[in-house]
Symmetry: C2
């Protein structure tokens, strides 16, 4: 098993596991992806209601990053009032086995306080 951990010239770690963590490590990202994968599509404020505790700024931040990373799609309707729909992307779907593993491990090992 190759561990695939290398280091660049500045001492920074270059590791595919760390790369993955960077993409989904945000506090709400996994949950957002999880919701979108289940339901298919949500509007901005619908997501907000699904994630009690998340603030305005942080939610849009995480959505933006997820979109920038190609993990979700953002569809904007130019209406008044505005309407934006988020859905999981093809690439985001490839994360599902991983999320399921995380969910499985957490369920089997977490005391859930």
């Amino acid at each position: 098993m190759d561990n695939n951990v290398t280091v660049d010239d500045k001492g920074k770690l270059k590791c595919s596991i760390e790369y993955t963590l960077q993409k989904i490590g945000g506090k709400w990202k996994t949950v957002i992806l999880w919701h979108l994968s289940v339901e298919g599509t949500y509007r901005y404020n619908e997501l907000r209601r699904l994630l009690p505790g998340v603030t305005h700024k942080v939610l849009s931040q995480q959505l933006k990053e997820l979109e920038a990373d190609g993990l979700i799609n953002r569809k904007q309707y130019n209406e008044m009032p505005p309407k934006v729909e988020y859905s999981i992307s093809e690439r985001g779907i490839t994360l599902m086995p991983l999320l399921q593993e995380m969910h499985k491990w957490g369920t089997e090992n977490g005391e859930m306080n």
Copy 2:
């Protein structure tokens, strides 16, 4: 598919995915576990050399948390000079499928700059 996302009375998210993320979300934790799973046992300073860039404090912090979470074992020899060996625990081994998924996804999706 049950999304297994609930909220406690303080608005805090209780979700098995987030639980997993808390356990392995530290900057070096996955890499430490990965190394230990490959090699079996490392001494403190060996790990340090494997993780260029990690500082003294942060490494011992992460090791301490991993140990507290039962994911690694710490064996201390009362010699002079001191000798401490870290190894992966039974519980830590249950994380391997997850780490492999993370590694796989990162390899397939990461540009690795």
